[in-house]
């Protein structure tokens, strides 16, 4: 099934093909290849608007996930029809991430992929608002990134390392 990728921002150059490849591999590692997922590369203005509208935090951020299904962490959705083969949408705050990477001296494209992995896990019910939930999410992120690393030779680590 499809990864629908859109680049809706002008601030940061984004290479679509490698990002798509990575997201497809991560989705496969989650066992969710038969589900569509939407991925929007967004600038600070859009992220701020969405963050304010949906989380009452009107400020730019790195990632926002909008799941199509409500599932418990670790479960795959059970679609009842063709139209429900959809994990939901991930908005990647690429402008925000790019600035963070510049400040921290990190590889932008690597962090973009790690952030996408984080967003995908959120679409599948993983959370990090408590320590146990974070541990579960961290393990899953590490697992799927390890799978991606095995395929691509990269050395990516989860986004939420050290959150608790």
């Amino acid at each position: 099934m499809s990864v629908v990728l859109r680049n809706a921002q002008r601030s940061v150059p984004v290479r679509r093909a490698p990002l798509r490849r990575a997201v497809c591999a991560l989705r496969a590692a989650l066992g969710a290849s038969r589900f569509d997922v939407g991925l929007v590369c967004a600038g600070n203005a859009l992220m701020q608007r969405l963050n304010g509208a949906y989380r009452q935090r009107p400020e730019p951020t790195d990632v926002l996930s909008f799941p199509f299904h409500q599932v418990a962490a670790g479960e795959l959705p059970r679609p009842r029809c063709r139209g429900e083969y959809n994990l939901g949408d991930i908005f990647l705050g690429v402008e925000y991430i790019h600035q963070q990477c510049r400040d921290a001296g990190e590889d932008f494209e690597g962090v973009l992929v790690v952030t996408a992995a984080h967003g995908l896990c959120h679409l599948l019910g993983y959370r990090h608002d408590t320590k146990p939930a974070w541990e579960q999410m961290y393990r899953k992120e590490a697992q799927i990134l390890e799978e991606l690393n095995r395929l691509t030779g990269s050395r990516l680590r989860p986004l939420t390392a050290g959150l608790f």
């Binding site: 499809s2 990864v3 629908v4 990728l5 859109r6 680049n7 809706a8 921002q9 002008r10 150059p13 290479r15 679509r16 093909a17 798509r20 490849r21 929007v40 967004a42 600038g43 203005a45 859009l46 608007r49």
Partner: protein
Amino acid sequence: MVGQSEGPTLVVSVLRERVHRDKAFAQFLTDEIKEEKKIQKHKSLPKVSGGWELEVHGTEARLVRKIAGEKITVTFNINNSIPPSAEDDTQEGQKPDEQEPELTSTPNFVVEVIKDDTKQTLVLDCHYPEDEIGHEGEEESDIFTIREVSFQPTGESDWKDTNYTLNTDSLDWALYDHLMDFLADRGVDNTFADELIELSTALEHQEYIKFLEDLKSFVKCQ
């Protein structure tokens, strides 16, 4: 006979009416030109960053860039480049003292990539999505899309419609992303697309004012 004595008087009367209306029209155009020049955002055409050279022939503009064995040209025409919804917004339900919203020109543009060592030009027909540009806030779709791709013989002005044309409507999305990255690597990315809108809008306004001036001269001419 009835009408015979009225003939020349009627003609003169009609002519006088026409001259009167033409004068009013010319005066209207004078005022319109003055207003348009007042709101003109760019007195000269804005530059597009990235080393693009601009050539303008009437309503057609061409941006040219040379990089490492390749020549990239981007061609667009400002005729019919303002989406109908943008034009409608300025006419309906507008209070007299409200400032008219800016009209934005979003022309289709054609990217041609010529490599020095081939006889074929890769031609990509690109469009701006409708109803997405010019609205407040950032939208959630691509800034521009590739609609069609084909090869054409380099240096020939006639379009060869027996050459295969790839339509991206049902194209594999991974391939589509590669094409977008291909363009981005040659300077045709979202920033470029944005700057092209600025350039096209400025050119369109410039040509509109010139048209009004020509119209005014024509109307006044007897």
